[in-house]
C-alpha cells in the first residue's frame, strides 16, 4: 500500500431508491496520492457529483469504505465527519457558494475560526495571505455578493485552502466561468499542485484542462472505465 495516499475509496456502491431504484455508483475503487492532480471526466449523469459528495464525507448513504490519510472515515459520527471536512478537505463548487452577506475576508476566515486552532490575528493573516496568493487581496473587505463570477470562485478556492487541507475537491469549478476565468482558475490549481504539493481531485468537462493534469479518471454509467 502506498503510504503517501491521501484518499482511498474501496468498492463504493450507491443506490437511489426514489423516484425509482437506481444503482448510481458501481464498485468504484480509487486512490489519490499526495501531491497528485487528478481529474474526473464523464458524461453528464454518470455519477461524478454523487461520487464527489461521498468522497467529501457529505454523503454517508453508501456501501464500501473510504479512507483519508489511511484512516477509515466510513461509519464515523456526523460531528467527526464535520471535523474531517473542516480540517482535511477543501471543496470548490460549480456555483459560487459564498456567504453572500459576509465580506470576502470573513468568508475565507470562517472555516479556520471553526477549526479554532489559531489565534484570530493569525487566522486573519493567513486569510489575507491566501487572498494575496490568488491576487484578490484587494477585494478582502468587499461584500461577497458584489463580486464577479471569476472573483467569487477564487475566493472559494482561498476558503478551501485556509486550513491547509490534505485535498481539494472541485465539482466542475470552472463550469460556470468564461474561458478566460476558467483558464485562470485552472492555472491556480496547477500552481498549487506544483508549488505547494497540494492534492487535487477535480471533476471537469474541459478536455484541455484535463489533459494538463497528472491523471484522468474516466467514468461511464457509474463505473470507472479508465484510471
Amino acid at each position: 500500500m502506498n503510504t503517501s495516499t491521501v484518499l482511498r475509496a474501496n468498492n463504493i456502491n450507491k443506490h437511489f431508491y426514489t423516484p425509482e431504484p437506481f444503482h448510481v455508483l458501481k464498485d468504484v475503487n480509487l486512490t489519490v496520492g499526495k501531491g497528485e492532480f487528478t481529474t474526473v471526466m464523464g458524461k453528464s449523469g454518470c455519477g461524478k457529483s454523487t461520487l464527489l459528495y461521498i468522497l467529501s464525507t457529505m454523503d454517508t448513504q453508501y456501501n464500501g469504505e473510504l479512507y483519508i490519510h489511511d484512516q477509515l472515515v466510513t461509519g464515523k459520527t456526523a460531528n467527526e465527519l464535520a471535523y474531517i471536512r473542516n480540517k482535511h478537505i477543501g471543496f470548490v463548487f460549480q456555483f459560487h457558494y459564498l456567504l453572500s452577506d459576509f465580506s470576502v475576508l470573513e468568508n475565507v476566515m470562517l472555516p479556520a475560526q471553526k477549526l479554532a486552532q489559531r489565534s484570530p490575528t493569525a487566522i486573519k493573516a493567513a486569510a489575507l495571505e491566501k487572498l494575496a496568493m490568488l491576487d484578490i487581496d484587494t477585494l478582502a473587505y468587499k461584500k461577497a455578493a458584489n463580486l464577479s463570477g471569476g472573483e467569487k470562485q477564487r475566493v472559494a478556492i482561498a476558503r478551501a485552502l485556509i486550513n491547509d487541507p490534505a485535498i481539494i475537491m472541485g465539482d466542475e469549478p470552472t463550469g460556470n466561468l468564461d474561458s478566460h476565468n476558467a483558464s485562470n482558475v485552472f492555472d491556480i490549481f496547477k500552481r498549487l499542485s506544483v508549488e505547494n504539493g497540494l492534492s487535487l481531485l477535480i471533476v471537469t468537462h474541459d478536455k484541455d484542462f484535463a489533459t494538463k493534469t497528472d491523471r484522468i479518471i474516466q467514468m461511464k454509467d457509474g463505473r470507472i472505465v479508465s484510471n
Partner: protein
C-alpha cells in the same frame, strides 16, 4: 463551541433581514410591554385595595355579641338528647366587655399583639333644628388609631389633634353634615337612647367614601363617648386588635373567643371575598401577557422558518466547510434569542413608560381621599420576570426552526441548485 463566530453569523443574518427582525422583535416588545404595564397596574390596584382594607380593618375585632346561651338550663338537668326548646330569647345584657381594662392590659403583654385599641360604640340620634337622624358614634383612642390605622386619611376639613384634645368635640360623618347642612365649627346635638342630650362641637368631617357609612357614623374621643353614655372609663364595648402577623388572626381569634367568652371576628373571615378578587386580577394579568407572548412567539417561529429557507445556501456552505449540525442549530437559536433580548428590553422600556404614564394619570375617587393618581407598583422583579419570559418564549419559538436548519442535508441543498 466558538460563540463569537456563531453570534457573528447570527447577527449578520439578522442585519440582512432588518425588517423581519424588527417586526419579530416588536411582537415581543408588545408582549412584554403589556405584561409590565398590566402587572404593575394590577398589583398596584391590589396593593391599594389591600391597604385600604388592612388599614381600616382590625386583624381581630373583639366584642360582646347579644345571643342566646348555647346551653339552656334544661340542658344541665338531663342529657337525653331529646329535649327541644323553642322560642329561646337572649337575656338583656350589657354591651360592655366585662373587665375590659384588665383584658386590654393582658392583650398588650401578648407577644403576637401589636396593638389593642379600646372602642366605645353608642347608638345616638343626631339632632339639628327639627331634623333627627339615627346613627352611631364611635369613641376611639384617637392618637393610637392614627398610629395604627389610616384613620387620618379620612378626615376632611379638620385635624385628628383637634379631635384628641378638644373636649366635647365630634368628627361628623360627611353624609350627616350634608343632610343637616352643618359644617366645621357648628355645634350638633346628640341624643342617646336613654334620652340624655349633649351638644358637641364639629371639629371636622369624616369621609370614608362609603356613602352608607358616612351617613350614620361619627367619631369622638373615647372619653366623650363614655360621658355621652353616662359611663365611667371602665366602659368599653369593643377591642380592635392588630397583630404582628395577620396570618395568625384566625387561630388567635378562636382562642380569644374560648378564653373570654367574647365574639372575635378575624380579618380573614371578614374579607374572604377579597382574596378571590386579588387572585382573579393576577390571573387576568398573566393570561393576557401569556397570550400576547404566544402571538409574538408564533411571529418569531414564522420569521425564523422563512429565514431558514432564505439562508439555505449559507447552511449548505457552513456544513460543507465543516460546521456541525449543532453549530447551525446554535446559529438559529441565537437569532431567536437576540430577537427576544432586543424585543424584551424594548418591552421593558415600553412597560416602564406606560406604567409611569398611568402613575401620572389623575384618579379621583371619594373612596380614597389620599389617592390622586392611578396606583402603580414598580417592582424590579416584574422586570426580571418579563425579560426571562421574553428570552424563554423566543428560545422555544426558535427551537423547532433551528432544529430543522441543523438537520438540513447539504448535498440535498447543493443538488437543488
Amino acid at each position: 463551541m466558538n460563540w463569537t463566530m456563531i453570534l457573528k453569523i447570527a447577527k449578520t443574518h439578522l442585519l440582512t433581514k432588518k425588517r423581519q427582525t424588527i417586526i419579530a422583535a416588536l411582537g415581543v416588545t408588545f408582549g412584554i410591554g403589556s405584561y409590565i404595564t398590566l402587572v404593575s397596574f394590577m398589583t398596584g390596584l391590589n396593593g391599594m385595595l389591600d391597604d385600604m382594607i388592612l388599614n381600616q380593618t382590625p386583624h381581630i375585632h373583639l366584642y360582646n355579641e347579644i345571643r342566646p346561651s348555647v346551653l339552656q338550663p334544661l340542658d344541665y338537668l338531663e342529657d337525653s338528647g331529646l329535649t327541644a326548646i323553642r322560642s329561646v330569647r337572649p337575656k338583656q345584657r350589657q354591651k360592655r366587655i366585662h373587665n375590659a381594662l384588665a383584658l386590654l392590659k393582658h392583650l398588650s403583654t401578648d407577644q403576637d399583639v401589636k396593638a389593642a385599641l379600646p372602642k366605645v360604640e353608642a347608638q345616638v340620634f343626631y339632632i339639628s333644628g327639627p331634623i333627627e337622624l339615627g346613627g352611631v358614634v364611635h369613641g376611639i383612642d384617637v392618637i393610637q388609631e392614627v398610629n395604627h390605622y389610616n384613620f387620618k386619611d379620612y378626615i376632611v376639613n379638620g385635624t385628628y389633634q383637634d379631635l384628641a384634645q378638644t373636649p366635647n368635640s365630634i368628627l361628623l360623618g360627611a353624609g350627616i353634615a350634608q343632610k343637616m347642612s352643618l359644617d366645621v365649627g357648628d355645634r350638633i346635638r346628640l341624643s342617646t337612647i336613654d334620652g340624655n342630650v349633649f351638644s358637641l362641637k364639629i371639629i371636622g368631617l369624616f369621609q370614608s367614601g362609603i356613602a352608607d357609612l358616612d351617613a350614620v357614623q361619627s367619631y369622638t374621643n373615647i372619653k366623650t363617648a363614655q360621658r355621652l353614655l353616662g359611663e365611667t372609663n371602665m366602659y368599653i364595648t369593643a377591642i380592635d386588635i392588630k397583630l404582628h402577623d395577620m396570618h395568625k388572626a384566625t387561630s388567635i381569634a378562636q382562642s380569644l373567643e374560648q378564653q373570654f367568652g367574647l365574639r372575635a371576628v378575624d380579618i380573614n373571615t371578614a374579607n374572604a371575598q377579597f382574596e378571590t378578587g386579588t387572585t382573579i386580577r393576577n390571573l387576568i394579568t398573566y393570561a393576557v401577557s401569556f397570550t400576547l407572548l404566544l402571538v409574538a412567539g408564533f411571529g418569531i417561529y414564522n420569521i425564523l422558518n422563512m429565514l431558514i429557507y432564505e439562508k439555505m445556501n449559507d447552511i449548505a456552505i457552513l456544513k460543507a466547510t465543516g460546521f456541525s449540525s449543532s453549530d447551525v442549530h446554535h446559529i438559529f437559536v441565537s437569532q431567536a434569542i437576540i430577537i427576544g433580548l432586543i424585543g424584551g428590553i424594548l418591552g421593558l422600556a415600553l412597560g416602564l413608560g406606560l406604567s409611569m404614564a398611568i402613575d401620572q394619570t389623575p384618579f379621583d375617587t371619594s373612596a380614597l381621599p389620599t389617592v390622586t393618581t392611578y396606583p402603580i407598583n414598580h417592582k424590579l422583579s416584574y422586570y426580571l420576570i418579563g425579560l426571562g419570559f421574553a428570552l424563554f418564549a423566543t428560545f422555544l419559538a426558535g427551537l423547532l426552526p433551528a432544529r430543522k436548519a441543523g438537520k438540513m442535508d447539504p448535498v440535498h441543498i447543493i443538488r437543488g441548485q
